[in-house]
């Protein structure tokens, strides 16, 4: 009787073990199929999200610029989409909306707000807007700012060099008369092509007229491949140029905003000139080149300046060059003229705008890439989606 009970017990144990093993073995046998199905679901989801992001204007349709000169309030956006309202073509994105995806002094979306608007509960995503190729620059600006040299390396994101790319370097400099505080700006253009290794270099002398000194230098690069892909990067002599003010463009308005947490942010500032630069042409929007300076545009304690330029958004300016009269970064020198290159959001991150919650999860993830056009320039929009 005991032996029989023992046998049955053994049978239960053995069958239980077999059942448990089966539960683990059979799904692993079909793991490839399950993974495929999961990836397919993710792929369909990613395509649907990408369609919304690129083809939908969102609601309100002008949500990127609807707050005008006021701080952007993400809660007023009811539906998310980056498409340009006035352009019927596909894949053309609104720069005002794109600039709300990364840090913007006039307000921006957080990752979780965008995720909620896209209805992606249970999923995480990363959205990256980047130029079509990678440009590494090494710019040497000596202390006297008189001989500027640079090395440029143009590659695809896989690392393959891009030969024969046209590298156009524009050296913008601000000069100030030692006596009298009058100032002027100048620009020198240089053009070169990358060699078979995707590299090129250049050196340029800047000569300051007698009685003047160079106060600031900025080097702006435009790299073009087959007349199409263009990327602009900027290097400057001043270590933190955006400390003087951060430039934003909202619709036809230009805004200079000061971070009040920075030391010296309460000092007065004068906007001396603003020009819009498209490499072929430079258009002066605002000019005040000599004393008397009059009242400061940003008075002591004031942290924002703005001015409307009707039709500005239609011209899609690649670069905005501001010259600002402000306190020198070196103590005891007094006021100086500095250059500011804008709009801020695009410049701070080397032309790359990225939105993600952190590293991609270890499970299945899918990625969808599309070519897009922002302010007349070609970018790649990459969406990666995974389950939380």
């Amino acid at each position: 009787m005991t032996g029989e009970a023992y046998d049955h017990l053994m049978a239960v144990v053995v069958l239980g073990a077999i059942f448990t093993a089966t539960v683990f073995i059979v799904p692993s046998l079909s793991y490839v199929n399950l993974l495929y199905l999961e990836q397919q679901q993710l792929q369909n989801m990613a395509l649907s999200v990408m369609k919304t992001v690129l083809f939908d204007e969102g609601y309100p349709a002008n949500w990127g610029s609807m707050h005008g000169l006021n701080q952007f309030n993400p809660n007023d956006v009811k539906r998310f989409g980056l498409s340009l309202l006035s352009d019927p073509s596909l894949y053309v994105l609104d720069p005002d909306k794109v600039q709300r995806l990364a840090y913007n002094p006039m307000g921006n979306f957080s990752y979780s707000q965008v995720r909620d608007l896209l209805g992606l509960s249970g999923y995480d995503f990363s959205l990256v807007l980047r130029p079509q190729f990678n440009v590494d620059t090494d710019v040497i600006i000596p202390l006297d700012k008189k001989e500027i040299s640079f090395n440029v390396n143009v590659t695809r994101y896989g690392g393959q060099p891009i030969p024969n790319a046209i590298v156009c370097a524009t050296i913008v400099y601000a000069l100030m008369k030692v006596s009298g505080e009058a100032y002027s700006t100048g620009a020198i253009n240089m053009e070169n092509r990358t060699n078979s290794l995707g590299r090129c270099m250049g050196t340029q002398l800047i000569s300051a007229p007698p009685g003047s000194e160079i106060t600031d230098v900025a080097v702006i690069f435009r790299v073009t491949v087959a007349d199409r892909a263009t990327m602009v990067v900027c290097k400057q002599s001043r270590p933190n140029p955006n400390d003087a003010a951060k430039i934003s463009m909202v619709g036809d308005n230009l805004i200079a905003k000061i971070d009040t947490s920075l030391p010296g942010s309460m000092d007065a500032r004068w906007i001396c000139s603003i020009s819009m630069y498209n490499f072929e042409t430079s258009v002066n929007l605002y000019n005040r080149t000599a004393p008397p300076w009059g009242e400061a545009d940003l008075k002591k304690g004031q942290n924002m300046w703005n001015m409307a330029f009707p039709g500005l958004s239609q011209t899609e300016p690649s670069i905005l060059i501001f010259t600002i009269r402000t306190e020198s970064a070196d103590k005891g020198i007094g006021r100086t003229i500095v250059l500011l290159i804008g709009p801020f959001t695009l410049w701070t991150q080397g032309g790359v705008i990225s939105m993600s919650p952190g590293p991609v999860g270890s499970g299945a993830s899918v990625s969808v890439e599309r070519d897009v056009i922002i302010a007349g320039m070609a970018y790649i929009a990459e969406l990666r989606l995974w389950k939380t």
């Binding site: 077999i18 059942f19 073995i25 199905l37 891009i162 491949v225 056009i373």
Partner: protein, 157 residues
């Protein structure tokens, strides 16, 4: 009496070995079921990702040609025979692991581009199971109407 005891012991032993046999039977049956399932999985056709892969490549190809056209460069490249520029534009615009082969035809189906516009070895195209093909029509350049048909073949490397 002894006989009865011996008989009872024998019967008990028989029942015991019957129980063991049942365990062995159950184990064998389970193994048969598991091995049958495993065997079936070996032969089960895994769903092919080719249609989706091809569809995605087609979307990428159309998107890239559309954007080059949107920037008013495609017609210039085609009608001025700027094949090197067109190849470069496609190389930088397509994802790094996508290879292409582009042929331009006139309305009668005659190929126009004499130099081969290709990125990637021919072997990649021959060995790939998922080749996407995108047709894109350029109606003309500036004021002239003379349609050209672009056939872009894409594979992933």
């Amino acid at each position: 009496m002894e006989d009865l005891m011996t008989k009872a012991k024998r019967a008990k032993n028989q029942r015991s070995s019957k129980g063991q046999m049942r365990v062995i039977e159950a184990v064998m049956a389970s193994l048969i079921v598991v091995s049958a399932v495993a065997f079936l999985y070996l032969f089960a056709a895994t769903p092919s990702s080719q249609p989706q892969e091809t569809s995605e490549l087609e979307k990428i190809g159309h998107n890239v040609l559309h954007d080059i056209d949107e920037q008013r460069l495609l017609a210039r490249f085609v009608y001025r025979s700027e094949w090197a520029n067109l190849t470069s534009a496609l190389v930088v615009s397509l994802p790094t692991n996508v290879y292409f082969n582009l042929t331009v035809y006139d309305v009668n189906g005659n190929p126009i581009n004499h130099p081969l516009m290709q990125y990637g070895n021919q072997q990649v195209f021959d060995s790939s199971k998922a080749v996407a093909s995108v047709s894109y029509i350029v109606p003309g350049y500036q004021t002239s109407y003379s349609p050209r048909i672009l056939v872009l073949k894409l594979v992933r490397g």
